[in-house]
């Protein structure tokens, strides 16, 4: 290996550095170089002692943490398809193959199109290509329905990367979470493909190519209609939301295991908890945000339980809100994005708590948007700098008071 790197330093690097032939393509070279190894550059300014875990390594940890969600998402997409399209004797392997054929093109499209946007901006603006993109490019497809058309995936990630991140100056300057910005774009631009009850389970009639590959002939020509737990709870009228959920075959246990229709990566609480555990051990994501977020959702859910409202969703026991829909996925992987979240410790607690509270309010009070976590996180992303401002001001005030008291004493 050393021999290869020496060769690279001697012959390849000068081509891309200042004055070299491919000077304009330096960000590409730099990305490849630092991806493979930690370069031997010395620091030019203070601080000189730096952690060996730089941003690139940090972001890779998030991808590791996402692995359970990705694998489970692939299997579940295939499993839901096979169950609801009445595929006889579907084995684990068949589920995985079917799921891969549905999910992998979405992930691939997201990386390809997002990558092109990222590299184009890096070359024009002469900034580094950042590994943060690897995370956004993976989080985004995991929040989509398994049947999302690929052109929409491409549009969504391009919007997320360009409008959500690059126009503000790239990674580190983005106000909003890029992956969620992309999802919000699709949600408002093409609501029919990302909400409702037609999109969560792939339908045999709509995937002729996949059917051919798998040698499967569809028995019906209709789409498969399956509402997600959130959709069921939001439209439960006359009966309690709990009864409506049970009627539709949703129980606490299958919402925790995640073997239900839903966004690709966010159905399984168990897979998310595995990722959460990894993030906690490595210290990559802020536990303040995650746990105060869960506390916020539980508190708001419990408050709704106590209020005498004529809304069956409000009466749903508070712990349902935590395992239902994309809440846990959002609070663990999206809300903790270090750039768009609040930065101060007390700020993180407030930020997380309010995300939880807002999520439940949006779910319960606005049936048009059954999934509140996306809007709640984006809203709090915008508020995060203000929260930090007041936390710092409060701290300064407290310290000044203390200093005055000490001076007088």
């Amino acid at each position: 290996m050393k021999f290869l790197f020496d060769l690279q330093d001697k012959y390849l690097a000068p081509l891309f550095e200042k004055g070299g032939k491919f000077e304009k393509l330096y960000p590409l070279f730099e990305a490849g170089d630092t991806f493979a190894r930690t370069p031997g550059d010395v620091t030019k300014g203070a601080p000189h002692v730096r952690d060996s875990i730089d941003q690139k390594r940090l972001m890779i940890f998030v991808i590791y943490a996402l692995t359970p969600c990705i694998l489970f998402g692939i299997w579940n997409a295939g499993h839901q398809f096979n169950v609801h399209n009445n595929v006889e004797e579907a084995t684990f392997l068949m589920d995985m193959i079917r799921g891969s054929l549905m999910v992998l093109p979405i992930i691939f499209t997201s990386y390809l199109v997002g990558g092109i946007c990222e590299v184009t901006f890096a070359l024009i603006r002469k900034h580094e290509i950042n590994e943060g993109f690897l995370v956004s490019g993976m989080l985004f497809p995991l929040t989509l329905a398994p049947t999302t058309p690929l052109w929409q995936v491409a549009l969504g990630i391009a919007f997320g990367i360009i409008i959500g991140k690059e126009i503000f100056g790239g990674v580190g300057y983005n106000v909003l979470n890029p992956a969620l910005t992309g999802r919000a774009f699709l949600f408002f631009a093409y609501p029919a493909q990302i909400s409702g009850d037609q999109v969560w389970v792939g339908s045999a009639s709509k995937a002729p190519l996949v059917n051919q590959i798998m040698g499967y002939t569809p028995t019906t020509t209709d789409g498969v209609t399956m509402a997600t737990p959130l959709g069921v709870a939001a439209s439960s009228e006359g009966v309690s939301a709990q009864a409506a959920l049970a009627d539709a075959g949703y129980s606490l246990s299958n919402m925790v295991s995640g073997v239900i229709p839903g966004s690709i990566g966010s159905t399984s609480v168990i897979a998310i908890l595995l990722g959460l555990g990894y993030l906690m051990i490595t210290g990559v994501a802020s536990s303040r945000i995650i746990f105060s977020g869960i506390a916020g959702a539980a508190a708001m859910g419990a408050l709704f339980n106590l209020l005498p409202l004529d809304n069956s969703f409000a009466a749903l026991p508070f712990y349902y809100h935590i395992v239902m829909g994309g809440f846990l996925f959002g609070i663990v992987f999206m809300a903790t994005d270090p750039v768009s979240a609040a930065a101060s410790n007390r700020g993180k607690l407030i930020y997380g708590f309010l995300i939880g509270v807002l999520t439940v309010i949006i779910r319960v009070a606005n049936p048009a948007y059954p999934e509140g976590i996306m809007l709640a996180i984006l809203f709090m992303n915008v508020m995060a700098p203000m929260i930090d401002h007041y936390v710092v001001q409060g701290h300064i005030k407290q310290r000044t008071k203390l200093a005055r008291a000490l001076n007088h004493a």
Binding site: F185, F188, A189, Y190
Partner: protein, 199 residues
């Protein structure tokens, strides 16, 4: 005194009322779902701002300083009522589509702003040209935003099908936030051409 040509063309880009001065943004979001209302709105506003600039400039020496705003409002409001009645008489469908936004030209900051900032200090001919320039500058942005929104939202331009039937309309383009995003992108493009940087 700037040249006549400069008076007209300056508001097109360098001193555009919407993208540089950030005036009249509300109507730029509200009437730009498709091209037709945007064009009619442009004509209406251009007429009002040009005529009000001319009239106020003619009256500038006799308007008492203390009540100048009320006088300006009276002039502008009369012109807007005339415009509104004309639209109702000859372009009833479009007038219904524009609903209150024709009436709201009275409160449009561009009209009042030009009267206060320009017509009160300048002779009639220059004021007329300034009003014309600002009306067209407003229209350029309005029509650009409307063209983008109609194209992506419906796949049409001025009601004519441009994209094939299978095109799936982009719902965001039809919402007010979509107009905001399009306007923001326009400002981005314009500023990278003009090298304009906000201080």
């Amino acid at each position: 005194m700037a040249s006549a040509k400069k008076l007209v063309t300056d508001p097109f880009s360098d001193n555009n009322p919407i993208t540089v001065q950030a005036l009249g943004v509300c109507s730029a979001l509200a009437v730009t779902v498709s091209l037709q209302p945007a064009i009619v709105m442009t004509l209406a506003l251009t007429f009002v701002v040009t005529a009000s600039n001319l009239i106020i400039s003619l009256l500038r020496k006799v308007i008492p300083g203390g009540i100048r705003m009320i006088v300006e409002m009276a002039v502008i409001a009369s012109l807007v009522i005339v415009t509104d009645q004309l639209l109702k008489a000859y372009l009833f469908d479009v007038s219904k589509q524009l609903s209150v936004f024709v009436g709201l030209i009275i409160t449009n900051c561009i009209v009042m702003g030009r009267a206060e900032a320009f017509a009160l200090q300048n002779p009639p001919k220059a004021s007329l040209l300034d009003g014309l320039g600002n009306g067209v500058g407003y229209g350029i942005i309005l029509i650009s935003v409307a063209a983008v929104r109609e194209f992506f939202g419906f796949g049409t331009l001025y009601g004519f099908k441009i994209l094939p039937e299978a095109y799936m309309g982009n719902g965001l383009a039809l919402l007010a936030p979509g107009a905001f995003i399009v306007l923001g992108l326009l400002i981005w493009i314009q500023r990278s051409f003009n090298k304009f940087v906000e201080e």
